[in-house]
């Protein structure tokens, strides 16, 4: 059978769900069988996303491999999937992390394995679905579906002390944003429908609809809130340190690597193209918030005593960069922003794995309990070092390329923002290296650390693929930038065109109003005569 004719995107989305359904019927006692099934299906999912990459036409900016089925025709809801240069690598990243998290949790999770694996698999479906939906309703469904497994991951397998607080905080924050977004989606749907006569949730059709500016502002704010909470942007970030710290290792990995990207992806796919005028008008304050996030996140990370919390705060800082680049609205900035989403996924995901590995051995996350670990775990030290440097943005590793492009793009439009943001890179070096130094170097003072075992094969297999990509992106980013470029250019053009169209429409309205006024005046003048 011809591979290209398969509904690849549907496969990517639903393979994990199939595994989840199969697991429902596997007996509770067969834990390793369940893990194997989950792993195999995650690998299949990875293979399917690799096939998507293989068949992806890098020179085209259009939505590819689109699938379309009518779902609820009365409301113009369809099952519409598609992928372009913007979502391609996010899908690949999600696919790559699928098997990694299953492997990483192999020895970690011993309690209610079945539910754990099902949650991970359903989560995978939700995340993939968000990245490939081209229908606002479908997108919203996947968006909410994601919430439940993540809630369970934090609340059931999290750190017993504060997991309930963290879980409910995560849910409430997310729900606030997404429900208001739902209202905005509905208003957009009704507005576009009543103007064009065709009621539809089809994203590509809604792209075409010029939303009046006053409405754009409100709808953009609703979308902004939903996505800014997810990113998370300062000051909506307070759920993140709690959720990250209390979640089990793989929960933090998925949360950092993929879930946070939902927010930034939401901006680039939905909020900005749908409401370009409001988005561009908001540039300055969003950039200010991003900047605060970068610097504040870095400062707070510096004073953390808990490794996991430190990495969590570094996410706030890194995602500030992503937002900054996106709102530069030029090719470099936006490409850097997308690349940085991937980079953050790889390196922060990896750092959470690293923290998880050492936590599994020592059951503490406090920096002061460690010191001199590199003597007992040399291999671990190597991996840790690579990811630390990647997170800092050392040239030759992935973080550098993304941050560099973002700073370059930002500098072109707002030099001062770029200058201030660059300090974030310096602070990153400070908090990461300082943490690394305190954990890995120095004398082995704590006797409990002496007998620590180095990485086993499973852990190496978990970390190695991430290292490959970290280096690959750092050394030859073109593999990743090329397929993005047409889509990014199209995105920018689309924003420009739509913005102009809306302005035209507004001035057209004003013009006709003016004409009418003039006519009335001349008429009344004529009457007077």
């Amino acid at each position: 059978m011809d591979l290209a004719s398969l509904p690849l995107l549907s496969l990517v989305v639903f393979i994990p769900l199939v595994a989840a359904v199969i697991l429902l019927f596997v007996g509770r006692a067969y834990e390793s069988l369940m893990r194997t099934i989950a792993l195999v299906f995650m690998l299949l999912d990875l293979a399917a996303s690799a096939a998507v990459y293989y068949f992806f036409d890098a020179s085209s900016a259009a939505m590819q491999m689109t699938e379309y089925h009518v779902w609820v025709p009365t409301w113009g809801i369809s099952y519409k999937l598609g992928i372009d240069g913007i979502s391609l690598f996010l899908v690949l990243l999600t696919g790559l992390l699928g098997p990694i998290v299953i492997l990483a949790s192999w020895d970690d999770i011993k309690y209610r394995v079945k539910e754990f694996l099902i949650s991970l698999l359903v989560l995978q479906t939700g995340m993939m679905g968000v990245f490939v939906s081209l229908d606002l309703f479908l997108f919203y469904v996947f968006w909410e579906v994601m919430l439940i497994p993540m809630y369970l991951l934090i609340g059931v397998w999290g750190n017993p002390a504060r997991k309930l607080y963290a879980a409910i905080k995560f849910v409430l924050y997310t729900i606030v944003g997404s429900l208001l977004m739902l209202v905005a989606i509905l208003v957009l749907y009704l507005m576009a429908g009543s103007t064009s006569g065709e009621y539809t949730f089809d994203l590509l059709k809604l792209y075409e609809f010029p939303v009046p500016i006053y409405a754009q502002v409100w709808m953009f704010l609703a979308f902004f809130l939903a996505f800014a909470i997810k990113v998370p942007m300062f000051p909506f970030h307070t759920w993140l340190p709690d959720a990250h710290t209390e979640a089990p290792t793989v929960g933090s990995v998925v949360l950092a690597a993929v879930l946070l990207k939902m927010g930034t992806y939401g901006f680039i796919r939905f909020a900005i193209p749908l409401f370009p005028n409001a988005a561009i008008d908001s540039t300055w304050w969003i950039m200010v918030l991003a900047l605060i996030g970068i610097i504040y996140g870095a400062w707070v990370a510096m004073v953390q005593v808990d490794v996991k919390r430190l990495v969590a705060f570094s996410s706030v800082s890194h995602l500030g960069f992503v937002m900054l680049g996106m709102f530069a609205f030029n090719v470099r900035g936006v490409e850097g922003s997308i690349l940085q989403m991937i980079n953050h996924g790889l390196s922060t995901g990896a750092l959470f794995l690293i923290v998880g590995i050492i936590y599994e051995r020592r059951h503490t996350r406090l920096i002061e309990d460690y010191g001199g670990i590199s003597r007992v775990m040399p291999l671990f030290a190597v991996f840790f070092m690579i990811f630390t440097l990647s997170s800092i943005g050392l040239p030759g590793l992935n973080g550098f390329v993304g941050e560099f492009l973002i700073l370059l793009g930002t500098f072109e439009v707002h030099p001062w923002f770029a200058v201030l943001a660059a300090t974030g890179v310096i602070f990153a070096a400070v908090y990461m290296l300082w943490m690394f130094q305190r954990v890995m170097f120095g004398p082995l003072t704590n006797p409990k650390n002496i007998g620590l075992k180095d990485l086993n094969y499973r852990e190496i297999v978990v970390l190695a693929p991430l290292v490959i990509f970290v280096v690959w992106i750092g050394v030859y980013p073109d593999t990743f930038l090329k397929p993005m470029e047409p889509s990014v250019k199209q995105f920018l053009k689309q924003v420009e065109v739509k913005k102009a169209a809306v302005l035209d429409q507004e001035s057209g309205k004003k013009l006709t109003a003016l004409k009418l006024a003039v006519q009335n005046q001349s008429q009344s003048a004529a009457n007077d005569r």
Partner: protein, 481 residues
């Protein structure tokens, strides 16, 4: 010679079949000594299935029976189905419950069937007195059922409260009807509509309209007429609470919509404003009060108040979209709430000893399937996709937005955010908190299992593939316009 009006039994065949089944149980129950509950259950279910079949032709008709007392149309058809489903699921869940409580009372089933018939008369009522008779039939049956737990003082207290307050509300309703009759000279809905259309509306009629509104709001438990709800829901036998929260609500909403849209649509602008305020109060009070409940029955009682608020939004939006939203929501809510209460009944066990939220600790461990079902019901109540509850909220909100009620929808959305907290608390208890003592696995009876499977499947199925049901709801509101 007095000419008798034409008697069209075909129009009330479903109701007649229910009553007949009730009578059969009454007679046979006297003779059967052993397994009287199983017999009653079987006969009731048979009666309900027969009624469902007899109900089918209503979908395609649009006329009235008994000199315009009863409407026989698609609107009745849809709501009859909702009521019959509610009755069937209630009966399936009740057998086990009654066995546990040691109540060998076949009258219980008879009363449930009679109440359902009353609800159906209320739904079909084309004349205010007809609606009143339906209302009283169902109310009186339910007053008795609420007090049905012989050993429980709480149950007696609930029955007493419900009787007094319900009687008061019925009085209001009847008084309103009398005033309307005084003004319009008729109580048929079309007659009242004609009177209002003619223009000269007296103060009497307006007062009558207000009193009718109060009567209905009492039955749907909208704030500030909700005071009875938590106590009565808490005190009543749990399967019956489920029936009340779904069936009574559906019937009351159905009649509410029919009266106000057929007879009083001339005044829509005025009563919509009143409903706006009531809906906002209902949603806020219902959800906020539910937050602090430790007793799950009380929590679900407040949640059902809150849901009345959401359904009111559909009425406020009006039009085909809003009203079909109301119907769909009622269907979705039927499956969801019956399922949730079914589990509450099951977990409650003998004497309803375990109805606190604390008792749900560790349910995910001891009864994984039950916990999954409960989680699905909670997600549906909270309006999280892909469940029926989400589609219900979605329909109603989009209808209201289309009519420009943007603030109403924003308030609704914010209050449903509040609701997420207490619905998720149940899930938290089930999955995330370790119990002090490991609870034993609960025993299902086949009937209970069937009821829960049907509700779960219903919630998921009409949530994932809502098209057909939305279409049906849309068809069913056509007779009102």
């Amino acid at each position: 010679m007095i000419s008798l009006p034409e008697i069209a039994f075909a129009g009330i065949l479903p109701e007649l079949l229910l009553c007949a089944a009730g009578m059969v149980i009454l007679v046979v129950g006297w003779f059967v000594r052993r397994s009287v509950l199983a017999m009653s259950c079987a006969v009731s279910i048979a009666g309900i299935v027969a009624a469902l079949i007899a109900n089918y032709p209503l979908r395609f008709t649009q006329n009235s029976a008994f000199s315009n007392m009863l409407a026989v149309d698609a609107y009745s058809w849809f709501l009859n189905i909702v009521i019959l489903i509610a009755a069937a699921l209630t009966i399936l869940m009740s057998v086990r419950y009654l066995e546990d409580e040691g109540i060998e009372m076949y009258e219980y089933f008879v009363l449930v069937l009679f109440a359902a018939a009353g609800m159906m008369f209320m739904v079909g009522g084309n004349h205010i007195l007809m609606i009143y008779i339906g209302l009283e039939t169902l109310s009186i049956s339910i007053y008795i059922l609420v007090g049905g737990l012989p050993e429980s003082i709480k149950s007696k207290e609930a029955a007493m409260k419900y009787l007094i307050l319900g009687g008061f509300a019925s009085g209001m309703f009847l008084y309103g009807a009398a005033l309307l009759f005084g003004a319009a000279g008729t109580l048929t809905l079309s007659g009242i509509a004609k009177y209002f259309l003619a223009g000269q509306v007296s103060l009497l009629a307006k007062a009558g309209m207000g009193l009718l509104l109060v009567g209905f709001c009492f039955k749907i438990s909208a704030v500030p007429f909700h005071m009875w709800t938590p106590d009565v829901y808490d005190g009543a036998p749990t399967p019956l609470t489920a029936f009340m929260s779904v069936g009574v609500k559906a019937a009351a909403f159905a009649a509410f919509v029919r009266v106000f849209f057929e007879a009083l649509s001339q005044f829509q602008v005025n009563w919509t404003q009143v409903l706006w305020v009531l809906a906002v109060l209902t949603m806020i009070l219902g959800n906020v009060a539910a937050l602090v409940q430790e007793n799950i029955k009380r929590m679900l009682a407040y949640s059902s108040i809150a849901h009345a608020g959401y359904i009111l939004i559909g009425m406020i939006a009006g039009g085909k979209a809003g009203l079909s939203g109301v119907l769909y929501y009622l269907l979705a809510y039927t499956f969801t709430n019956l399922g949730a209460f079914g589990i509450v009944a099951l977990v409650g066990r003998k004497g309803e000893a375990r109805i606190m939220l604390e008792d749900y600790r560790g349910l995910g461990n001891s009864n994984p399937l039950l916990a999954v079902a409960m989680a699905i019901f909670m997600f549906s109540l909270a309006g999280i996709p892909p469940t029926a509850g989400f589609i219900g909220k979605f329909t109603i909100f989009s209808a209201a937005l289309a009519q420009g009620y943007i603030w109403l929808v924003i308030i609704a959305v914010l209050t449903s955010m509040v609701s997420v907290f207490y619905y998720f608390r149940v899930i938290m208890k089930m999955y995330m908190e370790a119990p002090e003592t490991q609870p034993a696995a609960l025993q299902f009876s086949p009937a209970t299992a069937a009821a829960l499977i049907i509700s779960t499947a219903g919630v998921l199925y009409i949530g994932l593939f809502p098209t057909t049901y939305l279409g049906l709801a849309l068809e069913s509101v056509k007779p009102l316009f």
